[in-house]
Amino acid sequence: MMLSDPAKKYSPFVAVDIPDRQWPNQRIEKAPIWTSVDLRDGNQSLIDPMDQERKQRLFDLLVKVGFKEIEVGFPSASQTDFDFVRALIEQNKIPEDVTIQVLTQARPHLIERTFEALKGAKNAIVHVYNATDPMFRRVVFNVNKEECIQIAVDATRQIRDQMNDAPETHWTFQYSPELFTTTEMDFAVEIVEAVMDTYAPSIDHRMIVNLPATVEVATPNNYADQIEWFCRNVKNRDTLIVSVHPHNDRGTGVAAAELTLMAGADRVEGTLFGNGERR
């Protein structure tokens, strides 16, 4: 039953302190980089996950519509995803100008398996994540801030080395502090900078930092504030492609994406017609 006083149970979102925010004066003047996560985030949310035929049809549709970056699965977590990625690569089904992306947890054997899945790809984005939000650090994973950073840094180092061992692929690295919007902003910058120190992106070889609203917890202006704050405070912003990944828990996913583009995001991860799950 709904409470007569919901404040006893729910507390409001605490906004970032950014009184001189610039994003409300901006306009969206060009298309961002679009990344489809239909085949990964979307697929994970289906009652009946897609079989190979449906995945291939959706992949072909995404290419036809014009997506240049497509997250095709979580190959270290699912044999079906692994097989699909292999089929795309071995059967030469990925156009030259399209880059596939795969997701992995920050764990050594899963990263290894991820690279097995990608063997022989022309272009690929390896997307690693770990949860940075204080609730997850304390309750779910029982790690302190230093340990949380160490997980991200170790994974980054392993990914960097495995990329160097397979120079036939044109690699891009992507890191997501999962639950970014409920993470302390200074900690989000700290962990991303630690990852940058390890991977060493440059203006000519940028890395993607994806800042998800894993759960949408506030009005969309707050997400924009956080993106502007992050972009202004992270070092070497020009070596980063800043990506957003909104969800629609409060029904404002589209608005949130638009405001974050005004606030400086370069890239949007989403799905056709808004199907999808988390991360």
Binding site: Q44, L61, F67, G270, F273, G274, G276, R278
Partner: protein
């Protein structure tokens, strides 16, 4: 894995929001309905009929005052085709996403779209797909305007037959023959079609009779793409016949056709020809009420 599914951000809406601000999103949704159908097939989840830019009902006006405003806006646009898009109630030109504006008019206070579909289903065993029922309601409205009478169920059926089933010119199916090899999905089809009175034989192979028929038509220079297809049996026992509702794309335009026959294969082919005939008929289909066709 725990699945808590509220959904990702919708890239189609984001892209089209950008487009209607004059910024090209660099994604192509010129034919948005087939994109939606394909995604629905792959996800096995329906897209909501009111989903922005794409839902079955989003280019549909039910209210008379809205329809009047849109009609005037469209007429104004015909006079100023180069002016920025500014039509009442329509943030985007439906043609840009391969759709058409559909004025759904209530036949009387009790009927409307639901009423027409209900009468056709209950009394004539015809179960219209939703978008076809939207389109057909305009045909009925024309009849209502012409006759200025209460519309009866028989008048509705007659309008349906005239609009879809009796469309036999220029193309009319005379007969067809099919053959297939055991253990193969491929079907060889030979169809005899009367084209303005002259009989021609079309043949092709395809995965299933309809696919073969579409290929045969393409071979003869008629490029037709199936967007949507529904079929069901009508009547019972030995009197049962098949009815097929086919939505096709011809020359960039979406058109419905309907065919009936004892054989489902013939019904589907007749449905395709009905759509082609409607497309080529001199009278523009009432459904494609656009800036170009509105009087």
């Amino acid at each position: 894995m725990v699945t808590v599914s509220v959904g990702n951000v919708d890239i189609v809406t984001l892209a089209m929001n950008m487009y209607t601000q004059g910024v090209h999103p660099e994604l192509d949704f010129s034919n948005i309905t087939p994109v939606m159908r394909e995604v629905e097939y792959c996800n096995q989840l329906p897209v909501h009929p009111r989903h922005p830019y794409v839902g079955d009902l989003v280019f549909t006006a039910f209210s008379g005052s809205h329809q009047d405003a849109i009609k005037k806006g469209m007429a104004d646009r015909r006079e100023h085709p180069e002016a920025p898009w500014d039509v009442p109630y329509l943030p985007i030109d439906p043609l840009d996403v391969g759709r058409s504006y559909e004025a759904v008019i209530r036949v009387n206070s009790q009927s409307g779209k639901g009423g027409i579909s209900y009468l056709l289903e209950q009394e004539h065993g015809i179960e219209l797909p939703r978008r076809l029922s939207i389109e057909f309601s305009q045909v009925v409205q024309e009849v209502a305007d012409r006759t200025a009478k209460e519309i009866t169920s028989q008048m509705i059926y007659q309008a349906f037959a005239d609009e879809y089933l009796e469309q036999q010119s220029p193309f009319c199916l005379v007969n067809h023959r099919m053959s297939s090899e055991p253990d193969s999905p491929a079907v060889h089809l030979e169809a005899v079609i009367s084209e303005g009175g002259e009989r021609k034989t079309y043949s092709a192979e395809g995965n299933g009779p309809l696919a073969a028929f579409i290929k045969a038509l393409a071979g003869a220079g008629h490029d037709v793409e199936i967007i949507d297809y529904h079929e069901h049996a009508r009547g019972q026992g030995s009197d049962a016949e098949a009815i097929a509702y086919v939505e096709v794309r011809i020359e960039g335009k979406a058109v419905f056709g309907v065919g009936t026959d004892e054989s489902i294969t013939s019904a589907s082919m007749k449905g395709v020809l009905s759509a082609i005939n409607r497309h080529y008929s001199t009278q523009a289909p009432a459904a494609n009420v656009t800036a170009d066709t509105l009087a």
